[in-house]
């Protein structure tokens, strides 16, 4: 258990309403105090003057590919990329090989993470066996082994009756059901957002309705069952409106948005570059604008990256053959600053919420705050340093990012997990 004094930064801790220049003292892995002139004799000191000091950022939606696809990413490399992106906690989706649908796989991930990961890893278990959408997975046993939510992510449960049963099971365990909302019949054959761009490029379209009908279904089931329900990577204006409506009715509904969905649109697809291919697809500019508005007005609870590493051999193909997904851990803070904070759509404090109290609340994690006694996870970032994202220098094992070469203003400076610096920028 490590100790550190983070001195002179602007401390933003939404959970305690803190936003002031102060020192943060972490002793033996836990926050001891926030204040000035703290008794920190014999403790290492980190000079955070001019920087923002927040609770450790949480990315509640990543793919670590281990077990089964270690050529794309491992728990170790994914955790390194997370640390380099300013994240202290990540939640891997269950679409590994085998699928995380049993206590055995959950335990493997938890133990492997303890051995090799620099950041906290809180796994998400499958809803159904093999994520095949038919029979419920061993949800209770996985929960006992450490999962914090259930989801079939990219293979969403199409059978509404199965989804209902899953919500009932999750309600009793008090964990959220996370749905990647995609009606697979409506999206079949689609490679990008259906709209004027897909028609122009001759690429199969994924209509917004493919997401919207599933969000609508799930909200009705969530109301019926009383389950906690979370929409993964929400991408359309109508889904955002439906979630806002459900919240106004008092449902236990939350949602996340990815940086790429609020940063770019389907206008990028013109070169058939598969680094712009993901699910849900990059939507139209009206959707992007609606997402930013929903982030600003509080409808959106969390920013999550959907970090989805794929090796170059899979992405260097004809567009329609390439797998869906892009990496995102190392560009999330930069994109959020560029698109939301610097453009004055949200405050830095709201940004910190979206990465800390937001996801921690969705998943009931004992993280996301710097209150005395909390685990000493800290994300330090700044608002002014100019830097360029070079995907060749990425800590991830994969290189599939559309943001290679993008200039950023402000980004992660240091990442601290339980009082230990696990990553520090140059």
């Amino acid at each position: 258990m490590k100790s550190i004094l983070i001195a002179g930064g602007r401390v933003i801790d939404p959970a305690s309403g803190t936003d002031r220049i102060a020192d943060v003292l972490i002793r033996d892995g836990r926050v001891e105090a926030i204040g000035l002139d703290l008794p920190a004799g014999g403790v290492n000191r980190f000079d955070a003057r001019g920087m923002i000091v927040g609770p450790g950022f949480i990315d509640m939606h990543v793919h670590l590919r281990e077990p089964g696809a270690e050529h794309a990413e491992t728990i170790e490399t994914g955790a390194k990329a997370a640390a380099a992106g300013g994240f202290t906690s990540i939640c891997p989706m269950p679409n590994t090989i085998p699928v995380n649908d049993s206590a055995l796989v959950t335990s493997y991930i938890v133990q492997r993470a303890r051995a090799v990961a620099k950041v906290n890893v809180f796994p998400i278990g499958a809803i159904t066996k093999g994520s095949l959408g038919e029979e419920l997975a061993a949800i209770g046993s996985m929960h006992a082994s450490g999962i914090v939510a259930i989801s079939d992510d990219g293979r969403p449960v199409m059978n509404s009756r199965v989804m209902r049963r899953a919500m009932e099971a999750a309600r009793e365990l008090n964990i959220p059901v996370i749905d990647h909302c995609e009606d697979l019949n409506l999206s079949a054959g689609g490679d990008m957002h259906e709209g004027s761009q897909s028609v122009r490029l001759g690429l199969g379209g994924i209509p917004s309705a493919a997401e919207d009908v599933m969000v609508a279904r799930d909200l009705l089931l969530a109301e019926q069952t009383g389950a906690r329900y979370h929409v993964a990577h929400l991408s359309t204006s109508r889904s955002a409106a439906m979630v806002a409506f459900a919240k106004s009715r008092g449902l236990k509904v939350t949602c996340e948005v990815t940086p790429h969905h609020f940063a770019i649109t389907d206008a990028e697809l013109g070169t058939y570059d598969s680094n712009y291919k993901m699910k849900p697809p990059l939507r139209a500019s009206e959707d992007r604008e609606a997402l930013i508005e929903a982030i600003a007005n509080g409808t959106i609870d969390a920013i999550a990256t959907d970090h989805a590493p794929h090796p170059g051999s899979e992405k260097m193909q004809e567009f329609e053959r390439c797998p869906f997904g892009i990496t995102g851990l190392e560009t999330a803070i930069g994109l959020t600053l560029a698109e939301l904070v610097h453009k004055q759509r949200i405050t830095v404090a709201r940004m910190v919420e979206l990465f800390t109290t937001g996801p921690a609340g969705v998943l009931s994690l004992d993280r996301g705050t710097l209150k005395p006694g909390a685990v000493g996870d800290v994300t330090i970032f700044d608002l002014t340093t100019e830097w360029t994202f070079d995907v060749q220098q990425s800590c991830s094992r994969s290189r599939n990012s559309p943001f290679h070469g993008r200039r950023f203003t402000g980004g992660p400076v240091a990442t601290i997990v339980a009082g230990e610096i696990v990553w520090k920028g140059d």
């Binding site: 004027s196 897909s198 028609v199 122009r200 598969s274 051999s313």
Partner: protein, 305 residues
């Protein structure tokens, strides 16, 4: 965005400007003449690879003849007989071919954007001979040449394009070209094959599911093949297609008296158009085939010489 093809290749009509198109058509008109058809030496010593990942007879042969008339050497590869069947990726195949230093690669592929993807990763000029449901630029050029053989100008023409628009690269390339020259275009097909967003493809595009409306006062009627192989489900009940979207003799009264009938081929008699129409005086389907060679000669010459 707008640019010429010289030294770069031809990926689509959308990124070509009007002067470039005019220059290609003018040169193609020369190659239509008997003196133009004579063997030229202009591409002697050049090597052109025809790489066809999708079945094609007319386009491949047309490119081969065009290249030979310009004295270029050609090698034609079809995907079935190549390393693609051994699991080699497209980019590796192209890199391999690229290392043999041909002067251009003519490529057909079932994936939209495949030539664009390769053009970003290779130095050799690539000529798109049809990519998925995106574009077929030389088809639009030869169609324009064929129209201009019969009609004085593209500007002001009413062109009806009828059939499986959603999956048609021919329709997309023609829309871009015709719109650029001020023609008005009516796209017509069954609702599920006529996405509403097509209206935003270019200025002057109108959509209708009513074939009679589409044909009214048309100067040019372009019929498209029904691309069953690209469809996820049937757009309408079997047998209904010809009833509502097949071109028959009685339809011709709706169009202008001198209207012409075009089809990119291969035609399905009794599905998209009746035999009477296909073989009528109005049909310029074989002229299209003939003009394909002249246009492709013009394109190859412009890119390679």
């Amino acid at each position: 965005m707008a640019a010429g093809v010289r030294g770069r290749g031809l990926l689509d009509i959308e990124s070509l400007d009007r002067t470039e198109i005019e220059a290609i058509l003018e040169r193609a008109r020369y190659f239509q003449l008997s003196e133009g058809i004579k063997r030229s030496e202009v591409l002697r010593g050049k090597m052109i690879v025809n790489l066809f990942y999708e079945a094609s007879t007319r386009t491949r042969v047309s490119f081969e003849i065009a290249a030979k008339r310009l004295s270029a050497e050609t090698i034609s590869i079809t995907a079935q007989g190549s390393s693609a069947s051994k699991g080699e990726s497209l980019v590796d195949t192209l890199n391999t071919l690229g290392a043999m230093r041909p002067n251009a690669i003519v490529m057909r592929h079932s994936a939209s954007g495949a030539p664009h993807f390769l053009a970003r990763n290779l130095q050799i000029p690539i000529i798109n001979a049809g990519d998925g449901t995106h574009e077929h630029p030389t088809q639009a050029l030869l169609d324009a040449l064929t129209i201009l053989d019969r009609l004085p100008a593209l500007e002001g023409l009413r062109v009806a394009i009828i059939g499986d628009i959603a999956h048609s690269r021919v329709a997309r390339s023609n829309v871009h070209l015709l719109s650029r020259f001020g023609a008005s275009i009516v796209l017509c097909g069954p609702p599920s094959l006529l996405p509403r967003e097509l209206a935003q493809l270019a200025p002057g595009v109108e959509l209708t599911c009513d074939m009679r409306h589409a044909l009214r006062s048309a100067d040019v009627i372009m019929m498209l093949r029904v691309q069953l192989e690209r469809q996820h489900e049937a757009p309408m009940a079997a047998g209904e297609y010809f009833r509502f979207f097949g071109l028959r003799q009685e339809h011709m009264e709706l169009a202008k008296p001198d209207a012409i009938v075009m089809h990119p081929g291969p035609i399905n008699r009794g599905r998209e158009l009746s035999s009477e129409v296909a073989d009528s005086q109005r049909s310029v389907i074989l002229n299209q085939v003939e003009n394909g060679i002249a246009v492709r000669m013009a394109v190859l010459e412009r890119i390679l010489s």
